[in-house]
């Protein structure tokens, strides 16, 4: 249990800090939340700055265009960029955190060369075409069909909750290539160009007021067979690779941000007199413990990823229970995040009715955390069945 950083890690942190101090003041002004083209331009410009400085795809393997950094260095990168107030990954989210890592692991050499560099440079934006109106958390129930026609798949169906679809160049698309196969077996993973004829995007307005995601209608869209990642009908396995990235380090920066917000809440409560309320004070104290523990859980998971061979079960809470990873973290974090912003509303009092207040906008968006990327109910099933080994059932 060694929490000290190596001299190399400290050196990396110092260089990163210096670089951030130099470049962040040069960033253009942040666009409005509703200005999607503006947000794309802002997010991709930041990605380009990272790329030029050698920080893009930091922990990706070198042959995937990355820097081959250790998971701990990646953790430091996420911690420092958040601490310095650097832009969030934003429109680059799916490309950098889902599609890119999946392509790096499952893509052919040609596919990696074609798609990875533009993701890292910020030249191309990806969106995620997994969920469907009738297949949300039950992803294996998806019905979008892809029928082979020569060198193409002809894709028809619809997708929903497609984040960043409005400004995306590519979509990581799950399609059913064998309707006769058992539901997990007949699925394939395609990279679909968003400008292909037959693709229609209709933005969906969220309860937070912004259009984060969209509905997508696919009407006989032709996708080259060469855009399939992994074998035909092997898309479920490829998808599980994608999702393991999603639940991995995707939330690291957010935990750092939440800890910063919590400190600001305490100071605001001191300033406006709410601090005298012992119930509120104790809630803030508890959140302090929760967020600190979540941060340490991330460090634990990263150390586990760095050191032990997979499945070595180093966590060792007995009985051959494997390391409890992303689902455990996501379950607690998504609820703590909601509690944090509920507490922010308590600190603000009537000020919590101001929809333009940053904390209140975040309060609204926090409602998605127990739903997106697998609902809390689905995560509990995963923990119970895959980690605790309870029988499948209803």
């Amino acid at each position: 249990m060694d929490l000290t950083y190596t001299p190399e890690e400290e050196d990396f942190r110092a260089r990163l800090r210096a670089w951030l101090g130099e470049v962040l003041p040069r960033l253009p002004a942040k666009p409005a939340a509703t200005d999607w083209p503006g947000r794309r331009a802002y997010d991709t410009a930041w990605q380009r700055m990272l790329y030029d400085a050698g920080y893009a795809g930091l922990h990706w393997p070198r042959d995937a265009g990355g820097q081959g950094a250790t998971p701990t260095q990646h953790l430091i990168f996420l911690e420092e960029t958040e601490r310095a107030g650097a832009p969030y990954v934003g429109a680059n989210f799916v490309g950098l955190l889902h599609a890119g890592p999946t392509l790096a692991v499952e893509g052919s050499a040609a596919q990696r060369v074609r798609w990875l560099p533009p993701i890292l440079r910020g030249d191309e934006i990806w969106c995620q075409g997994f969920s469907e109106p009738d297949a949300g958390s039950d992803l294996a129930a998806l019905r979008t069909r892809a029928v082979r026609d020569g060198d193409s798949y002809v894709v028809s169906g619809s997708k929903i909750w497609t984040s960043h679809a409005e400004v995306a160049d590519w979509c990581e698309l799950l399609v059913r290539t064998d309707p006769a196969a058992p539901r997990h077996r007949g699925i394939s993973w395609l990279a679909m160009p968003m400008d292909a004829p037959g693709v229609t995007v209709r933005p969906l307005r969220t309860l937070a007021g912004s259009a984060e995601f969209a509905e997508m209608f696919l009407d006989e869209v032709r996708v080259p067979v060469g855009n399939r990642v992994g074998a035909e009908n092997d898309g479920w396995r490829v998808t599980m690779v994608t999702l393991s990235f999603e639940r991995g380090t995707a939330f690291v920066g957010e935990v750092v941000a939440c800890r910063r917000v919590l400190g600001a809440l305490a100071r605001a409560a001191r300033a406006n007199g709410r601090w005298d309320d012992a119930v509120l004070r104790r809630r803030l104290g508890r959140l302090h413990a929760e967020l600190a523990a979540l941060w340490r859980l991330i460090q634990w998971n990263v150390s586990e990823a760095t050191g032990a061979p997979p499945g070595a079960g180093r966590r060792g809470n007995g009985g051959g229970v494997p390391g409890a990873g992303g689902s455990v973290f996501k379950l607690r974090y998504s609820h703590v995040r909601q509690e944090l912003y509920d507490t922010a509303a308590e600190v603000l009092g009537a000020g919590a009715l101001d929809a333009d207040h940053e904390w209140i906008a975040d309060r609204l968006s926090s409602l998605s955390y127990t739903i997106a990327a697998g609902t809390s109910q689905i995560q509990r099933n995963i923990v119970a069945e895959r980690i605790l080994g309870l029988p499948k059932g209803r």
Binding site: M1, D2, L3, T4, Y5, T6, E9, T72, L262, G263, L265, A266, R267, R270, A278, R281, R282, R283, L284, G285, R286, H288, A289, E290, A292, A293, L294, R296, L297, Q299, W300, V302, S303, E304, T306, G307, R314, R315, G316, N317, G318, G319, A324, V328, L331, R332, Q377, Q379, R380, N381, V383, A384, E385, L388, G389, L390, P391, K392, G393, R394
Partner: protein, 332 residues
């Protein structure tokens, strides 16, 4: 950074688990419920195995390990529901002769609590009272500062028969308690009282963590075996979700406890105690629920975990204090 157990630490944990499983298995546990007198032979065996001398320097006959190792050992004690003033004996092994070897048993109590409670009063040879000095962290090594109540802060030792106490019906059948009415403060002990409290809180949290992890296993084991409506109850989502939440609680507590053992920071210890208390109590409750009617009987072990968890939650930093401390820590 490698925030994982070393090979030596894993071996220590596994060895402790094996020792306790062999010497304090289920039969011994149930016997102890009926007859709560401590097993002196087992105590000496624990002493011989280095359980109490774990952190004493090797030159003094100790094992020379640190707080992280003590936490791993206490986590195992918590799993096994091992009774006795374990925290007191671990913390006083270097200060009171005979404790390190398991020959002598000492108790430890906090003067500021009301009532001042003493665990295993009949079994202890001595009682050590810890008093807060003037202000938080005011008592340095050796104590000796004037206390908030005009008393001297620090630690005092008293022979068992010099302590005036009244009977107290303990909620935990494995932990007899007495209410200390008066304690002579004649023999001061040169101890760092704030540090003693911090370590007592952390070792108590480690036991809570062990208990929380154990009740996850008990619940999962029962949910796999017990059939209702023709299927194992573990196939019902309602039961699965209880078990999943139990694991989440235990794992969050584990991160907090392990990290506090490395940093020894006051706020980390407070967070560890808070989250481990919640994990132990919450998990025991949920484990009882998964066991259904059987869980409500005296024969099931679940209630023993719950009662001990309640008891530990009231010792060495209760939720209210930890939360206030952590809240104050946000302002600096």
């Amino acid at each position: 950074m490698d925030f994982q157990l070393t090979a030596d630490q894993r071996a220590l944990r596994d060895g402790t688990r094996e020792l306790l499983a062999g010497r304090f298995g289920r039969e011994r546990l149930r016997a102890a419920v009926e007859e709560p007198a401590l097993d002196r032979a087992l105590w000496r065996e624990l002493g011989a195995a280095g359980f109490f001398a774990l952190r004493l320097p090797e030159a003094d006959g100790g094992v020379g390990l640190g707080l992280p190792e003590a936490v791993l050992v206490f986590e195992e004690a918590g799993r096994a529901l091992l009774p006795g003033p374990l925290v007191a004996c671990q913390l006083l092994a270097g200060a009171v002769d005979g404790v390190a070897a398991g020959e002598k048993i000492v108790g430890l109590c906090e003067a500021e609590r009301d009532p001042v409670l003493w665990e295993h009063p009949a079994e202890c040879d001595e009682l050590i009272l810890v008093e807060e000095g003037a202000g938080r962290g005011g008592a340095g090594p050796g104590g000796g500062l004037r206390g908030a109540h005009g008393r001297t802060g620090g630690a005092y030792r008293s022979a068992q028969d010099r302590v005036v106490c009244a009977p107290f019906a303990s909620i935990d059948p494995l932990t007899p308690l007495a209410r200390v009415m008066d304690l002579p403060r004649a023999a001061p002990l040169a101890l760092d009282a704030p540090r003693l409290r911090r370590e007592a809180a952390l070792l108590t949290a480690a036991q809570q963590l062990g208990s929380a992890a154990r009740t996850v296993e008990m619940a999962v084991g029962h949910a796999r075996e017990r059939e209702q409506f023709g299927v194992p109850i573990g196939s019902f989502q309602a039961v699965k979700h209880l078990c999943a939440q139990m694991l989440v609680r235990a794992e969050i507590a584990r991160s907090a406890v392990y990290v506090a053992s490395v940093t020894e920071c006051v706020l980390d210890v407070a967070a560890a105690k808070l989250l481990a208390d919640e994990a132990a109590v919450g998990n025991a409750r949920d484990c009882l629920q998964v066991h259904g009617g059987m869980g409500f009987t005296w024969e099931a072990d679940v209630h023993l975990h719950l009662k001990r968890a309640w008891l530990r939650a009231e010792r060495w930093g209760v939720a209210r204090e930890a939360e206030e401390l952590l809240a104050a820590g946000l302002i600096d």
